[in-house]
């Protein structure tokens, strides 16, 4: 069986972005995931997002761990830097990479197993440190690569493909993020690019860790009746009360909006996230309100999506550590590592 390839058809009609690139230039290798996998849609959304942002491919670093989700960086932006790390260790590698070169735009792709089981400790500390990166959690509730056991995000009562219900409490990455001090928390659905693409753009613009929890159905092991992470379940239970638009900084902000619920968050790079609508009394900057809202929705059996929490005034890992503006990788070796005499002097200071 040969793996299919997506042919390059020389159509003149493909639009180009500011760099003169087409969306095809932001693609990667052909996906070998199951046909209909939600992850492929997330890949397509990421591809489109970077194309629309006119991001130079060589300024992107994509990282992942192990799992179906972690295969996906191969499938977008073939010209980007990439690192496929050990299981659950994407967060640590990303932290190190970001420490060494703060100029790149980091995107980590992980899954519910990679992030919430083996890698949960690293994820927690990544959020605490507020590492400046986009963290996409492709969440399908099962270990697809090992044939569909429940993962740590499976809901109580959700049934496996064989009909067995899950009895262990789920971990909600958004709730985890709220308690760990994450500064950008969004949830979306792989089957809804209209929502997902603007969220991803806002995540790229955010300074600090931007966690995007994407419900991404496993078409092979978790798309049946009784599943709470199937295409159908999501379409029937998704609540989209929080709607946002992403406004790039170059674009004149001229969209009409209502006075009452108009909230605008100016991002670090000058772009803006505009909340088109939020539920009454909701404040995306108030941790407690957000937590209450998500809990309330969850108890009703609903899944709230959108940009749930954002705090743009926080400090990221570099500010916390007072590192120079230039990437450490560009600092001359002699400055970065001034030698044993300098070390001895430093140690003397601590005596």
């Amino acid at each position: 069986m040969s793996s299919p390839t997506k042919p390059l058809i020389p159509l003149a009609v493909l639009p180009k972005n500011e760099l003169g690139l087409t969306v095809r230039d932001y693609e990667g290798a052909m996906s070998t995931l199951c046909a209909g996998c939600g992850h492929d849609s997330v890949t397509a959304a990421i591809t489109q997002m970077y194309f629309e942002l006119s991001m130079p491919p060589h300024m992107i670093a994509k990282l992942s761990g192990i799992g179906c989700s972690s295969k996906t960086p191969t499938y977008f932006v073939r010209g980007a830097h990439g690192f496929n790390s050990a299981h659950g260790r994407m967060a640590t590698i990303a932290t190190g990479a970001n420490a060494a070169n703060r100029e790149l735009s980091y995107i980590g792709i992980s899954g519910d197993g990679d992030s919430l089981s083996i890698g949960i400790g690293h994820l927690a500390h990544l959020m605490r440190r507020n590492v400046n990166m986009v963290y996409v959690l492709e969440n399908n509730g099962v270990y697809g690569l090992t044939k569909g056991q429940f993962s740590a995000s499976a809901d109580i009562g959700s049934r496996s493909k064989r009909g067995v219900p899950n009895i262990v409490a789920p971990i909600d990455p958004i709730m985890l993020g709220l308690s760990m001090g994450a500064t950008f928390l969004a949830r979306s659905f792989s089957g809804d690019k209209e929502q997902l693409i603007p969220l991803l753009k806002a995540a790229v613009a955010h300074k600090g860790l931007a966690l995007v929890d994407v419900i991404s159905p496993c078409v092979t092991f978790n798309d049946h009746e009784g599943s709470t992470k199937s295409y159908r379940f999501m379409r029937e239970h998704e609540v989209k009360e929080i709607e946002t638009d992403f406004v790039p900084w170059q674009q004149e902000i001229s969209m009409p909006h209502h006075k009452d619920d108009a909230r605008e968050v100016i991002m670090h790079d000058g772009s803006a996230v505009r909340f088109r609508s939020v539920p009454p009394g909701y404040d995306p900057r108030d941790r407690q309100k957000v937590e209450e809202y998500i809990r309330e929705r969850h108890e009703r059996g609903e899944i709230a999506t959108g940009l749930l929490y954002v705090n743009e005034s926080s400090t990221d890992v570099h500010e916390m550590n007072n590192t120079p503006e230039t990437a450490l990788s560009k600092v001359p070796f002699a400055t970065l590592c001034p030698g044993s005499a300098a070390l001895a002097k430093l140690q003397e200071d601590f005596r």
Binding site: M1, S2, S3, P4, T5, K6, P7, L8, I9, P10, L11, V13, L14, C34, A35, G36, C37, G38, D40, S41, T43, A44, S190, G191, K193, P217, V219, T220, D223, Y231, R232, R235
Partner: protein, 603 residues
């Protein structure tokens, strides 16, 4: 929009642009695949089922399929369909036993066909196997009609023409050569059950300008008359300096023939700019390759004749307004020449049809006909080919012939001629495995293969030296893979779709969208890639089960790669081979299967 009715054979038929554009609806992708498999006999027979003269048409067809070809919209150049047809014809083996045969006993019905050109021969081809007693009246001593008289042998070799005309005649038609029908009244008196008029448009148009009727020593010729005289060996030379008036395909044949009969300085004189030329672009190219000068914006004014000798022709050099409707004269020139050939068109000539027989004629001396049945106002008389609606081309003549044969058959059976047999289709899934299809679905980026020609230095040695050499094995192998298999259709079942977007994400030309329904104009504007070609349909599914949105497909640039069906987890998309079952005379049985299906056992 209402959901697209893809159960109507004409929906998928339209997607197969070449087949839709072909007047005879030849299954082009079907035979190209057979050529790709080296099954030249089958490819030839599949062709012959619909177009009757694959060897002839593989050289001189007007190729309405090629401008329509989807490949043009993808990389700018159509698949060389016509040349591939010739490959099938040139490389076929002995196919005699697979051709239709006439039964040993006739059915007692007598049909007269007037003219042994493509239209009449194609009618004979359809009626002889049904047992009809067919008599063909031919004015010359050989069959072929315009294919014999008007198309020079360097484009269509005599043996190719002989083979494909004779095979029909040998089925048992009685051909009366040298027997022009001079009176329709007399023919009607012979009590034929049906008469088919396939006499073409045999009269070359005159150019009534000063000097036309002066004694020019026989150096002013009418194009098609002149070509006919060359074809039958009555003319063997021409002057060195020749002017051709007109710039259609006949003009191209005249100028190239002149080059072979002694013309050295041959000019084609056109009144209008190049974009208004009637000749096919490839015929213009072939003429220019032979050092023929094509002069634009020269409007003929008078023949210059001195002392009973043609010395030249006077032209107004003109300039045209936008749209080339009105011309203004800049200056007048005389261009010297030895011969002038008038190739400004041809027309019907029905002076032999008496006007009191009940056969009505309309404007331009063309008969009043039913466009579908080809029946004239006298029920047992039918017209086809150029005789029906004025000059068209060979493939239209074949198309008329199939319809006329159905009409004649129904008339002779005492059935209503206006009731037509239904057009049906077969759709069959091509899935062979997870990522395997029974057709070659990979996009091949090869450019269109160029036809090799005989070297210019040798080309004029003989009048019957065929210029085009045909594709070699390598060219054929490349060209067949350029075909996008438009007949392997994307077949969608809305009830199976889970809206996972996999098909949309994988489509290399972004022709799929799931969105809320709307009016066509609105919908076309908000697809993933706007549907900008109004000539190409957009497919709209019935509402999808989960969200009630619709799947929309812009047919315009789909390359039929099958990736949507390959990435579909629920087989809502499938690649299904579409076969149009075209009805022909007498063979619409209970299954509605066409002759193609009967003749061939295809994969």
């Amino acid at each position: 929009m209402e959901p697209t009715n893809d159960q109507d054979p004409n929906y998928f038929h339209q997607v197969v642009d070449c087949q839709w554009a072909c007047p005879a609806h030849t299954d082009v992708p079907g035979y190209i695949r057979l050529i790709a498999q080296g099954r030249f006999d089958d490819a030839y027979l599949l062709n012959r089922a619909s177009n009757v003269f694959p060897g002839i048409l593989g050289r001189v067809c007007d190729r309405p399929c090629e401008p329509a070809c989807r490949r043009t919209r993808v990389d700018g150049n159509p698949v060389a369909i016509c040349r591939l047809k010739r490959v099938a014809s040139d490389l076929k083996g002995d196919i005699a036993e697979f051709l239709p045969h006439a039964p040993s006993v006739t059915n007692g019905k007598r049909v007269a066909l007037i003219g042994a050109g493509p239209a009449s021969l194609a009618v004979a081809n359809d009626l002889l196997p049904l047992g009809y007693d067919v008599t063909i009246f031919e004015k010359y001593d050989r069959a072929g009609g315009l294919m014999r008289a008007n198309i020079p042998e360097f484009r269509l070799p005599g043996e190719v023409l002989d083979a494909e005309t004779q095979v029909i005649i040998d089925m048992g038609a009685e051909v009366r050569y040298n027997s022009p029908v001079e009176s329709m009244r007399e023919l009607l008196a012979q009590d034929f059950d049906a008469i088919f008029v396939g006499v073409g448009a045999p009269k070359g148009k005159e150019l009534e300008l000063p000097g036309r009727h002066d004694d020019a020593g026989g150096h002013i010729h009418i194009g098609i008359e002149w070509l006919k005289s060359v074809a039958f060996g009555h003319i063997e030379s021409i002057g060195e300096r020749v002017l051709i008036i007109g710039v259609g395909n006949t003009a191209m044949d005249c100028c190239r023939t002149s080059r072979r009969l002694g013309g050295r300085d041959v000019k084609v004189m056109a009144r209008r700019p190049r974009e208004y030329f009637k000749a096919s672009p490839w015929e213009l190219d072939d003429a220019e390759e032979e050092d023929i000068e094509i002069t634009v914006n020269h409007s003929p004014k008078r023949f210059v004749i001195e002392d009973g000798r043609l010395v030249g022709m006077e032209f107004d050099i003109v300039t045209w307004d936008e749209g080339a409707r009105h011309a203004s004269v800049l200056e007048t020139v005389v261009i010297e020449c030895d011969d002038v050939i008038l190739a400004i068109g041809q027309e019907n000539a029905f002076e032999w049809v008496e006007r009191d027989l009940g056969i009505e004629f309309g404007e331009w001396e063309t008969p009043v006909l039913d466009e579908t049945t080809l029946q004239s106002t006298l029920p047992q008389v039918f017209f086809g080919g150029d005789a029906a609606f004025g000059p068209k081309n060979i493939i239209w003549a074949v198309s008329h012939a199939h319809q006329a044969a159905i009409s004649i058959d129904r008339l002779c059976r005492g059935e209503d001629v206006n009731e037509r047999p239904p057009l049906t289709m077969t759709l069959a899934s091509q899935k062979m495995g997870m990522t395997e299809w029974s057709y070659h679905n990979e996009y091949n980026p090869s450019p269109r293969q160029q036809m090799n020609h005989v070297e210019l230095t040798q080309r004029f040695a003989a009048l019957d030296l065929e210029v085009e050499l045909g594709f070699d094995a390598q060219q054929t192998a490349r060209e067949v893979q350029r075909c996008l298999n438009c007949d392997v259709q994307t077949d969608f079942t809305a009830s199976l779709c889970i809206e996972c977007d996999a098909c949309i994400d994988i489509c290399p030309v972004r022709c799929l969208t799931i969105t809320t329904n709307g009016e066509e104009d609105d919908l076309r504007g908000r697809l993933n890639a706007p549907a900008v070609n109004p000539d190409q349909a957009i497919y709209v599914s019935s509402p999808l089960p989960q969200t009630g949105r619709v799947m929309v497909k812009d047919e315009n640039v789909c390359v039929h790669c099958g990736l949507c069906a390959q990435r579909c987890p629920t087989a809502a998309w499938d690649m299904a081979k579409f076969e149009l079952d075209i009805p022909y005379a007498g063979n619409f049985d209970i299954l509605g299967k066409s002759r193609a299906a009967h003749v061939l056992t295809r994969s």
